[in-house]
Symmetry: C2
Subunit: 435 residues, 2 copies
């Protein structure tokens, strides 16, 4: 058998321990598939004494994760330190410039610095791989950059954050409100103590920016992802959606916008109404799913475990097997200088149906003002529901679904209503998929 691929693990949290366990458990199988053994040569984390549930004594221990970048016998550095900048980024730069391939699950770092690192990896002739950064155990980066490589992809969208999906589907199953379910999710370990990155949609936005770059062959623009999380979704919205035949999911959508003078990059993370017949509607709990639409393959769906030690380790080691096989690939499916630079697109050219929910004072004239704003903005209303109290005392919930029309009309209507005392709080706007 050929020489082993020597790897070093930097960061030994849940995922790091999962990678150790996977490489030990499936060692023989991995060697057959990779055509050489994958050998853990060194491990590194801040606290050596911590019990991680795996025996690390067979491996060389380095106290400073930065050291893994300079060990001469290491072929690949696997970074599981986390954080978009700081030690993780310093390690990435040092490992790559030192001629080591680099594998990471760090979506924040790739969303922010992926282009720089890809260019550095190309210059150094090493691999930069991050299958585990998007949708956990689902090989969606490989699926798009290789499996769908023959296609012009114009749209990619999906459920990219397991925490939000768990919260939304639990709200759906139990009728409980967001804050209540979030508390449970934190106690059960499905949400972090500081859940901001997840529930505000930032984690999904990181993943979406990476997917868009790969799917479209465009330079990453995380800064241009329009992001709304799920904190504004009320139990009443979920009940309302269900009555109309929909479920609510946090969806990341990226599209090439061809409505303007030149193509633009549209990227948005926002809760959506998904029709019950759409495959994404049955994606429950912490599952992730990604849909890509290509000009020859049609609609392709990938679905699986979006997080957790096992699935994430599966993706990390798939990257290592590729490298062991000598298949370095290009980080974003083509050399970084070939990626197109597209300007961010506004939503103005998008056409579809929308759900709008207002919390309004319980007094005459409010509905008239809202419907007048819709009319003045050219938005045609398909259905209109006034529900009982849902907000504070003296407030009622009003929801409406528009007919298919330009999103710019909805934006315009909301602008007309902005500042009106008929609208007590900022409205919730969700686009509708399917149905």
């Amino acid at each position: 058998m050929a020489e082993p691929l020597n790897i070093a693990l930097a960061g030994l949290g849940t995922v790091g321990a999962g990678v150790v366990r996977l490489i030990e458990t499936n060692a023989e199988l991995i060697a057959r598939r990779a055509r050489r053994p994958i050998r853990i040569a060194a491990v590194s984390a801040r606290d050596r004494s911590k019990d991680r549930g795996v025996d690390l004594s067979p491996y060389r221990w380095l106290d400073d994760p930065a050291e893994v970048a300079t060990q001469p016998d290491i072929d690949v550095v696997v970074e599981m330190v986390g954080g978009s900048d700081g030690p993780a980024l310093a390690l990435a730069r040092k490992a790559i410039s030192g001629g080591k391939s680099f594998v990471t699950a760090n979506k924040a770092m790739i969303a922010h610095h992926g282009l720089e690192l890809a260019a550095a990896a190309e210059a150094a002739g090493v691999a930069l791989k991050f299958e585990a950064a998007v949708a956990g155990g689902i090989p969606v980066i490989k699926g798009l950059s290789e499996g769908a490589a023959a296609n012009a992809i114009e749209r990619v969208y999906g459920i990219l954050n397991g925490t939000c999906n768990y919260i939304l589907s639990t709200m759906e199953d139990t009728g409980r409100d967001f804050a209540d379910v979030l508390g449970d999710a934190q106690r059960l370990g499905y949400a972090e103590a500081d859940p901001t990155f997840d529930v505000e949609g930032i984690d999904a936005a990181h993943k979406l920016a990476i997917l868009a770059g790969i799917a479209f062959g465009t330079r990453l623009r995380f800064d241009a992802v329009e992001t709304t999380g799920i904190t504004g979704v009320m139990a009443a919205d979920i009940a309302q959606a269900r009555a109309l035949g929909y479920v609510i999911r946090l969806i990341g959508t990226a599209e090439i916008d061809r409505g303007g003078a030149s193509p633009g990059l549209f990227q948005r993370v926002r809760p959506h109404l998904i029709h019950c017949d759409h495959p994404l509607a049955s994606v429950d709990g912490a599952t992730n799913a990604v849909v890509a639409e290509g000009n020859f393959m049609g609609r392709l769906l990938f679905q699986g475990a979006g997080a957790g030690a096992g699935p994430t380790a599966s993706a990390v080691v798939a990257d290592l097997i590729d490298i062991a096989r000598g298949e370095k690939g290009a980080a974003f499916s083509m050399p970084s200088h070939e990626l197109e630079s597209l300007e961010p697109a506004q939503s103005g050219h998008r056409v579809g149906r929308s759900y709008l929910r207002f919390i309004v004072p319980d007094r005459p004239g409010v509905l008239a003002e809202i419907t007048a704003a819709m009319r003045d903005a050219g938005v045609s209303i398909e259905s209109f529901i006034q529900k009982g109290r849902g907000g504070d005392a003296g407030e009622v919930i009003v929801a409406l679904v528009t007919h298919e029309g330009p999103e710019s009309g909805v934006t315009e209507a909301l602008k007309i209503l902005d500042g009106s005392d008929s609208v007590a709080r900022p409205p919730l706007v969700m686009q509708i998929i399917g149905g």
Copy 2:
């Protein structure tokens, strides 16, 4: 830019024309992703004069597909001639031994001769690729052999034949019977004039044998796939399934059977009852879907267009892009001599619930005989339904669902009933997934 990858197309039916159209339409994008152009150097088919909807005049025409194997400037032969043996196999052997990489959509040939061709390709140092052979535009071969490569996969199953799925989902939507819907499907082009390969499950069995080899790292055993098609599924079965909360789908299942002294390879194509909550239940029409369960990644689902010129061409060209990138891979995810040789497993160790449907004479004592057989075989009955006439005059339909138990019990019960005049025709047995 690097030298083009020169390819020759043998066979210019729907898929062949689709490949030409894709390579022309997406040429610039393909060159960016493949890091070199993919150039059609020669085309070949039996009838030069036929209108295929694409202009073939720019390409060197060869009257004899066998000639593409010997053109010195050709790097890759793309075979779309079809048939498990005959000209396709002769071409494959000649091209590979002549040092050309070989890409095909020919599932029958790979199911029957894939191991021989893989060994030949390894000996010649060329690529053998067949992403398009399984599940059309879905990159499931890449997904399993690379994306899921870190996992021990113990089970792979899915909807592998679009024609059967179209017929079953149309029967479900319309309440019509098999023969009736098949006739329509033939008129609409969803089924061939001779539909045997599709409706008898042979096409799905070809694909299942290939998937099993890749997922488990085992030598292909198409001969050992236990195959039952959909011709025996009646409208009454579909109505009955729906009443119980299930849909009927033709499912190919492959598993490693660890119930015996040594592991065995279980492979079966058969109609199944799928619970409405299971992701495969919403796979309608000609769509395909594949589920794989790995020991770290958990359950992974791929879904997309299972046939058609565009999706199939997408898979063919994905293989070409891999080859252009220098990523030849191993045909079955590891060198063919590393594939394990497992004996076929009987269903005896499987445990689950089953649906059994009998057409019986409308007279006293029949139900007693069936229930006695179940009792004597140790099969516990969960529900029992006697429906009105469904077969010929004087016959009624009796269906039952078993509690979870060994499949061997069901086999035993049917053996007891075999030859009894209480059972007018061979019963239909379907396993139950989900619910």
